[in-house]
């Protein structure tokens, strides 16, 4: 049971890292996610059903997501419309495309085929199947995390971070921000689709409606993570996203398990997730106001301290 929460959280965390890249690093409010996570699930499922190896299926899912993200970035770049609208357009179009990928079915099961989660217990035969799934997923997540961490420390990754902070600065350095967005949003959605590909295998089916509300859940996870500790280093940002994803999934798990006691059903989860995001934003705002008030108090205390120190000099 507890392993289940962790596996669920870890699969979800790859998507959260993707959302972290678009929302926090590139400062691009991207809603493509709701579509690309289902695209990833659909591509991986169909690839596996059609006999491709699991790694190839996941690679196809990743590339499908990259393509979806690049479409969003291209719409935003070329038509000069806000990223938000570009994302909504791609997400809506992806719904039809996902149904096509799934062969015009809303739901395709992964029955009687070997998936990552049927193979992992065989591979790690010496441990319980649930733990084997957990270890396998953890390895995938660590692999993704390390690649993302290294990427955002390269010159290219650093310039993407700079664009998120100040687009004009990147232009002044002779870099075309449109190309950075194409790559960055592509990478973000690639990871989101990869997460979708894992999710389909974990739950045993791909669903065209899988992506509904995923962006908000991902944002909730990021914000929960941000309460843990504050940092600017990419390795800690991704760690925070992973921990936030697991905590979010745990919260949802306990909501499902004990929610009936306060008359909460899974139907209420979208509402609750939204309230969680709003509450996080509110708390973050209050905290930053409090810390700037604290800094002000300290600055005043410091200048007063200096004044008293000066006054004391003649006596000494």
């Amino acid at each position: 049971m507890i392993e289940g929460i962790f596996v669920d959280g870890l699969v979800f965390s790859i998507m959260v890292i993707g959302i972290l890249i678009s929302y926090r690093i590139l400062n691009f409010a991207d809603l493509t996610c709701d579509g690309s996570v289902a695209t990833g699930a659909a591509i991986a499922t169909m690839a596996i059903v059609n006999g491709f190896p699991i790694t190839a299926a996941l690679l196809f899912a990743f590339l499908g997501g990259v393509g979806a993200g690049m479409v969003t970035a291209a719409i935003h770049n070329k038509l000069k419309i806000p990223g938000l609208l570009a994302g909504i357009l791609t997400m809506t179009m992806l719904y039809s495309i996902n149904l096509r990928i799934l062969g015009n079915k809303a739901n395709v099961p992964l029955l009687r085929v070997s998936t990552l989660y049927t193979k992992l217990p065989l591979f790690f035969g010496f441990m319980a199947p649930e733990w084997a799934s957990l270890v396998g997923t953890l390895l995938v997540v660590l692999f993704v995390k390390i690649i993302v961490d290294v990427f955002f420390r390269t010159d290219l990754g650093v310039s993407m971070g700079a664009m998120g902070g100040n687009e004009q600065m990147v232009i002044s350095q002779g870099i075309n921000p449109e190309v950075l967005k194409l790559m960055g949003i592509g990478l973000s959605n690639g990871l989101i689709a990869l997460s979708g590909g894992l999710l389909a295998q974990y739950q045993g089916f791909a669903d065209a409606n899988l992506g509904q509300g995923m962006v908000v859940q991902g944002l909730a996870a990021i914000m929960v993570g941000e309460f843990l500790f504050s940092s600017n280093r990419i390795s800690l940002l991704t760690l925070r996203a992973i921990l936030g994803a697991i905590i979010y999934k745990a919260l949802m798990f306990f909501g499902r398990k004990y929610g009936y006691l306060v008359n909460i059903t899974p139907n209420d989860f979208k509402l609750l997730t939204g309230i969680l995001v709003i509450a996080s934003l509110f708390i973050a705002q209050t905290r930053s106001a409090a810390s700037s008030a604290g800094a002000k108090r300290k600055a005043i205390a410091r200048s007063e301290g200096r004044r008293t120190a000066k006054e004391e000099v003649p006596h000494a």
């Binding site: 290294v150 990427f151 420390r153 390269t154 010159d155 290219l156 650093v158 310039s159 971070g161 700079a162 664009m163 998120g164 902070g165 100040n166 004009q168 600065m169 990147v170 232009i171 002044s172 350095q173 002779g174 870099i175 075309n176 921000p177 190309v179 600017n232």
Partner: protein, 263 residues
């Protein structure tokens, strides 16, 4: 080095808000020139900079820089050889990143690769550069923690690191307090001399424009109304400049009236 031929910019053409911001400007800037541009608010100084750096496209005219036609080159391509500093100190640096990350982005112009260039050798080098502006111990600090003056000084340092062929300084000390403005200005002077930069600088301070550089341009209503260099410039005084401005402005007004009656 820079050659502008009948450069014209009209904002909102064909609407009631149509405004002629730059009116057929011809300008030739030689290599090594340090040009100060003065003019009242709305005279087109900043628009001229926006046209040269490519923020806006020109309505008509031609711009040649360093032998190449740049009239329709996008802004990021022009930025490869033309550096620019804005009045707003937050525009030149990314606040969400550390000083060293900002510097590594500025070190080479153009699209970056997948190399990790930031190493201890680079940090040592940056520390030496930063000691010019007293920030040598703050390599890992976020740029957002710096004061406006420190940020502008860092922007200046980052700009010269990439060795631009020409720099555009758009009232880059106007948003700073007098002491910081002086520091940034001293640094500007030092870099211009040290790297033999060709520079154009917008300023509101007439005395400063007279003292600094080898050429002075006065703009009004989108035209260059006065262009003086060398010895003639060094003889200028603020009073003379103000008087000249008044005379010239009256004359241009008269000309405009003449044109209107003719039409």
């Amino acid at each position: 080095m820079l050659e502008l031929t009948s450069v014209t910019k009209v904002f909102y053409p064909g609407t009631v808000n149509e405004k002629l911001a730059i009116d057929g400007v011809n300008l030739h800037v030689n290599k090594g020139d340090v040009v100060c541009i003065v003019g009242s608010n709305g005279s087109g100084k900043s628009t001229l900079f926006n046209l040269i750096s490519g923020t806006y496209p020109v309505t008509a005219g031609k711009m040649v820089f360093d032998g190449a036609d740049i009239t329709s080159k996008p802004e990021y391509r022009r930025a490869m050889t033309i550096g620019r500093i804005f009045q707003d100190p937050t525009k030149g640096t990314a606040a969400n990143m550390s000083i060293e990350d900002n510097m590594i982005t500025a070190e080479t112009k153009g699209m970056k690769g997948l190399r990790i260039s930031l190493n201890n050798e680079k940090r040592q080098q940056y520390r030496r550069l930063l000691s010019l502006i007293g920030l040598e111990d703050r390599l890992k600090d976020n740029v957002g923690l710096l004061s406006g003056g420190q940020r502008q000084a860092l922007t200046l340092l980052m700009m010269v690191m990439s060795r631009p062929k020409m720099v555009l300084l758009d009232e880059h000390t106007a948003a700073l307090d007098p002491r910081n403005a002086q520091t940034v200005m001293d640094l500007t002077e030092r870099f211009i001399a040290e790297y033999q930069l060709t520079a154009m600088m917008v300023t509101h301070n007439m005395q400063f424009a007279i003292d600094f550089g080898n050429r002075l341009i006065m703009m009004d209503e989108g035209s260059i109304i006065f262009d003086v260099s060398g010895e003639e410039k060094s003889k200028l005084t603020v009073e003379a400049l103000v008087r000249l401005f008044k005379d010239l402005r009256n004359k241009t007004y008269a000309n405009d009236a003449g044109l209107l009656t003719k039409a």
